[in-house]
Point group: C2
């Protein structure tokens, strides 16, 4: 599939590389193509083209939003809501506010979520929240912990879009994908972040995951 990954940080690079390796036609979208090309010269394969946010979104079937939570809505505005209309938008962001130090607090929670704000900003897109509950390395290499025996969650209003995303997650090695329900269920996974951050401290690693046993 044609996939645009918006965001060229650690998470965006990891996802773009993995999806490229799986045979997808991946474009990395960035605010400043020249700057990003210099910064990533050594780390991203020459086979993954860079493009502006708008150009990357325009040509993709699936758009993955892989930026800091605080930049989520401005990034989508720069990509262009019209470019994103009807497309599947995979939202992997978390509403983390680091302005008061660590651990971060959440700038939206409980009665709203960043997933819902993104869906509201893109009413014609099919937003699916997922992969916001684990570290980048495990997003793309789930077998690195417990032989891949752990859980990822999906939230969204469109069942067909969730099916496409669950299949994509399966192709990356995720063996247990739980559909929580509509996009309001993103409140639940975003609010997992405070526990995730404390576990990172207690276990002194990011290489852990939640498995829902039942």
């Amino acid at each position: 599939m044609k996939i645009a990954v918006l965001g060229t940080g650690m998470v965006g690079q990891a996802l773009a590389t993995r999806l490229h390796d799986l045979g997808h036609q991946v474009t990395l979208g960035t605010r400043d193509v020249g700057d990003t090309r210099q910064r990533l010269a050594d780390s991203i394969t020459a086979d993954i083209p860079l493009a502006t946010l708008s150009d990357a979104a325009a040509t993709a079937e699936i758009v993955i939003l892989a930026v800091q939570g605080g930049a989520a809505l401005t990034t989508l505005a720069a990509a262009g809501p019209k470019q994103l209309a009807t497309k599947i938008v995979i939202d992997i962001t978390n509403p983390l506010d680091f302005t008061q130090g660590f651990p971060a607090t959440l700038f939206v929670k409980d009665t709203d979520s960043l997933g819902e704000q993104i869906q509201a900003a893109l009413p014609d897109a099919r937003v699916v929240k997922t992969l916001n509950t684990l570290t980048a390395d495990l997003m793309v290499n789930p077998r690195k912990v417990n032989d891949g025996q752990h859980t990822v969650f999906i939230s969204g209003n469109d069942d067909e879009a969730k099916h496409v995303v669950a299949t994509l997650l399966g192709s990356m090695g995720h063996m247990d994908v739980i559909d929580l329900g509509d996009i309001t269920t993103a409140r639940g996974t975003e609010m997992l972040m405070p526990l995730w951050m404390r576990l990172m401290g207690a276990l002194d690693t990011t290489m852990f995951q939640f498995k829902v046993v039942r």
Copy 2:
């Protein structure tokens, strides 16, 4: 040990019965002994005495707070902060607000927690937050799901109290107890509730648990 369980709902009954069966000297504390005796006539063994909140707390070494989150602070005030001073207070409450329907929202979160509010109300007690992330049946019978292979968390400022509580959890069958850190880490486990409630809906059961794999 002498243990007072404050609260006679499903959770309080389950914990009192299990701890009694393990050989502890358990008292159930309640606001109205006569009412509770009538209500529980068929469900609680005659071997577990009922007492007022204050009397139950006065004679106990460990006090378990097993009431609705909204009643946590008033229950402790009724038990008497002086009765609770220096004691281990196991807080298993969640700050759930059902006034807007289901799923509940949280009446404290993110920059504070009910665990912290309880510790602040009882500055001389040693508050340990735990068991607030799973259903009552699994609190006391962890082997009912995945042969007991799942995780519970503890938060608190006093290492010795946390050691006592972790040992108690182990005696009930909990095989993986993660010490998250001081009482502020209760924010993390309390904020797990929104995901827990959505999972209950998606899985159509309360008999599930989180296992932290690493």
